[in-house]
């Protein structure tokens, strides 16, 4: 796969996660300059090991996580910080689980590590950037990237 294919696969996985897990309406066509001005609210990374080895990261820009968490839980009140962190982890976990079969094929088996969540833009990333995508929604945007530290599919 070429990097542009990886970017597309990551965009597909992220959109599916935002729609089906977070009940958001992703907007891939919104002007990206708007998103650059938004602060990183939280990021999460998930390590994976299989046909390729690396980590998938999600960055959430804006101030949307409390609302996303509340919507996911169907709760009326503001979501607790612990639930927001858990929600961020699940967004990364689900995006990773959706992206890996698109990137490596449906038969490949991966061991996926528990997600790590960081408040602000604090994830320490290593490896070669293999693909990334950014998707906007009403009150912010989400960025996904994959960094590889082991063999990549041809």
């Amino acid at each position: 796969m070429m990097t542009s294919d990886w970017d597309q696969a990551l965009r597909t996985a992220l959109c599916r996660t935002l729609e089906e897990l977070c009940f958001l309406a992703p907007d891939v066509d919104a002007p990206s300059q708007r998103w650059d001005e938004l602060p990183v609210e939280a990021c999460a990374k998930v390590g994976f090991r299989g046909a390729m080895v690396g980590q998938l990261t999600i960055r959430l820009r804006g101030h949307a996580l409390a609302d996303i968490t509340r919507d996911m839980l169907g709760a009326a009140e503001t979501a607790a910080k612990a639930d927001q962190s858990d929600c961020m982890a699940e967004i990364a976990n689900v995006t990773c689980g959706t992206a890996l079969p698109l990137l490596a094929g449906p038969r490949e088996v991966f061991d996926v590590a528990p997600p790590e969540v960081f408040w602000g833009d604090d994830a320490h990333l290593t490896g070669e950037l293999a693909g990334r995508a950014r998707v906007g929604f009403d009150s912010g945007c989400a960025e996904v990237a994959v960094y590889l530290t082991g063999p990549r599919q041809p």
Binding site: L21, L73, D83, D86, N93, T98, R107, V112, P114
Partner: protein, 129 residues
């Protein structure tokens, strides 16, 4: 008969989403037991009169596939209806899950998909839902 349901997932948010989907489904649920890792979930399945288990795969301490294998080995839980609820969806793992007689729902799921898998697992018919 109202069901005792065990939900095993290391994500508290995901456990809440699963429980909420079950509550909104109209399925007769008597009691929900929750566990945040595979080892605790397995112990809970053996200790309590569980009618259905919903298991994540990627969890600390003991993953969901290992829990499923242990459940099938134990005479007390060998026939327990199980639905795996996970982001893991490789064909190889799906075959393994099917061979163990468990259902599968891929995350993210709609409440309808989850309920349909639950009904199939407990041997019901969701045509009337």
């Amino acid at each position: 008969m109202a069901l005792n349901v065990l939900v095993v997932d290391d994500s508290a948010v995901m456990r809440k989403m699963i429980v909420r989907a079950l509550e909104l489904s109209g399925l007769p649920v008597a009691r929900v037991f929750e566990a945040a890792n595979g080892a605790t979930g397995l112990a809970s399945a053996i200790e309590h009169p569980i009618d259905l288990a919903l298991l994540d795969i990627n969890m600390p301490e003991m993953n969901g596939l290992a829990v499923l294998a242990e459940l099938r080995k134990n005479p007390k839980t060998s026939e327990l209806p199980v639905v795996m609820v996970s982001t893991e969806g490789s064909e190889q793992r799906m075959e393994m899950i099917r061979e163990c007689g468990a259902g599968f729902v891929r995350k993210p799921f709609t409440p309808e998909l989850l309920v349909s898998a639950v009904v199939n697992a407990v041997g019901g018919d969701d045509d009337d839902e």
